[in-house]
């Protein structure tokens, strides 16, 4: 693990910048998400101030920085609260899918045989389905028991990503199991559990952060798409960018730009930042993609010439 972070720190060139830019933007969003109650002038579900409704579709101004939308919401406040929702859903869905996917993958890869084959087959089948379709089906099923809140959205997204962790972790486990050093460990008499813990865990831990950040970006996109289609988080449960964008669709056709621009930019910025972190990690963690920096060769004067002919 230590070498993993050192590897990241020592990376040079593009990969380091990609990583740095991604981390900085992500941190900004995290700060906004945490400080939302203090940073946002209004509550996410607040349409009235002192009993009077906020203006409808007011353009950006000193009072309403990003304007207001057709539901009398202050867009700036919705964007800030949206960051909190996004991070809640991402963290929740990542934790659940890792907690389920990783052990399942390790077990399947290590036990092998029929257990592995069946799991892989079912997993591949689920994985081959369009992810958004799967998320829609789950939100369709969860709408009844759980309603339209953060938990239901996170669980719908989780269903999409469990197969991915399973797949990657299982393949890593299988290749690590076949690797010569694990064979050597077994030949030396290490117990299966020791092998699992010591050798596989290290390998698996390498691939999960990369997948995790890339999935976080993807999960955010899926959440917004669900919201856009009307199957995500309801506006009175939490502020969600995708939902706000779907409300803004008709305004856009009419040429009103502010209800779409700001939530959209927030969404793109956070997705891009998470993707950059994932890509940066990928390049640093995957030596095959890394490239050593080349330095031009300057041939010195031949200091040995005289010695040679002496």
């Amino acid at each position: 693990m230590g070498s993993f972070f050192r590897g990241i720190w020592n990376t040079k060139g593009q990969a380091r910048w990609i990583l740095l830019v991604g981390v900085v933007i992500t941190l900004v969003f995290i700060v906004f998400a945490v400080l939302a109650p203090w940073v946002a002038p209004y509550d996410f579900n607040q349409t009235k101030l002192d009993g009077a409704k906020l203006p409808k579709l007011a353009p950006p101004s000193g009072t309403y920085w990003f304007g207001t939308n057709d539901q009398f919401y202050d867009i700036y406040s919705r964007v800030v609260w949206g960051a909190r929702t996004a991070l809640e859903v991402i963290v929740l869905s990542l934790v659940i899918s890792i907690v389920i996917g990783v052990p399942l993958g390790i077990a399947s890869g290590f036990i092998g045989g029929w257990f592995d084959r069946i799991l892989v087959f079912v997993n591949d089948a689920i994985y081959s389905l369009p992810s958004l379709l799967l998320a829609i089906v789950f939100s369709f099923l969860l709408r009844g028991p759980l309603g339209g809140g953060v938990t239901a959205a996170a669980l719908s997204i989780t269903a999409v990503y469990i197969p991915q962790y399973f797949r990657v972790v299982r393949n890593t486990t299988v290749s690590a199991r076949e690797a010569t050093y694990v064979e050597a460990a077994r030949a030396l008499g290490a117990k299966p559990f020791t092998i699992m813990r010591k050798y596989l865990f290290g390998n698996v831990v390498q691939s999960v952060p990369v997948l995790g950040t890339l999935n976080a970006a993807d999960a955010l996109g899926t959440l917004a798409a669900l919201g856009f289609l009307g199957f995500g988080i309801q506006p009175n449960e939490a502020s969600e960018w995708g939902y706000d964008l779907s409300r803004a669709l008709d305004d856009a056709q009419a040429g009103t730009w502010w209800p779409t621009l700001f939530p959209g930019l927030a969404l793109i910025l956070l997705i891009t930042a998470l993707t950059l972190v994932g890509e940066g990690l990928n390049e640093t963690a995957n030596p095959a993609l890394r490239r050593r920096r080349l330095r031009p060769v300057v041939f010195p004067r031949r200091e040995q010439d005289e010695e040679r002919t002496r």
Binding site: S131, L133, I136, L141, I271, L289
Partner: protein, 342 residues
Amino acid sequence: MSSASGSLPRYILVRLALVLPMMWVLLTVVFILLRVAPGDPVSAAVGGKLNQEALDARRATLGLDRPLITQYLDYLGNVAHLDFGKTISDNRPVLDIIKDQGGATLTLTLGAFLVAMVIGLPLGRLAGRYRDTSADAAIRVFGVVTYAAPIFWTGIMFVLLVVKLFPGWPTNDIASVVTKFEVTPKSHILLFDAALEGNGSAVSDILKHHVLPCLTLGLLLSGVIIRLVRINVIQAMKGDYVEAARARGISERRVVRYHAFRNALVPVITVIGLQVAITLSGALVTERTFNWPGLGTELIQYVTARDYIAVQGLVTFFALIVVVVSVFVDILTALVDPRVRY
């Protein structure tokens, strides 16, 4: 290794035989998700409108009162006959929905795919070949942003732009009302039908309507393709056969085109095949953004109506499409790469 170059027909047969178990697993997954999960389809869809007896009667006609295993076998049998059931909310055969609206989704996705290839292949190749240059950096940022930008947002931005710059350019639906009225549906692929009738103005109207949605969906896919092609070109450029070709004096242009790029395309084809899923996901959102009369729009309506049978039927159909395309891609890979034909 035999001297006979692996026979392609035999490979195709073997590959087709493998489809059945894959389809069976997918169908089972869909069935478990939608039928075994708690919740009553009929009351979900039409509850409140009918009294208890009427609901029970509907349940009986739909066969929902029978044991699950019977329902499961029925479901498999029906799908084998391409019968996806009748919707609960408006009693429409799902197959009719697919026939009527499938064409719009088909032309949308094909057009998007074309856009993605035209943008993605050359840019990915450029980025891979001139790795770590400023061109590479710019192309990668483009790829990341087009993939990161949610489809509906890109779509909305296009709409905003077009409304301002080209007023009158169509920003939603597949055709104008006039065109829809003029063209009589035969294949239900509107573009195809219009072309068949030789109706030039209808064809151009339909094509115009395709531009924005196809561009929007295509841009998203191009991000995926750029990334894929770039990585594979980088790997292929390191290939032993590339160095060997250089050692034979083959020109650098030829080395890149025929040795590196062609080999880079083999894994790209395979992975692009997997992008059908992404394409379909994207199509769902694109259709909603542009009011596109396709299967995605239908699915969204039936999900909102909480119609289990319709959702199940449409999801089943999407699953079948994914399997069929994956077979098609495998056959294509075998055509390109002789090593696969064993």
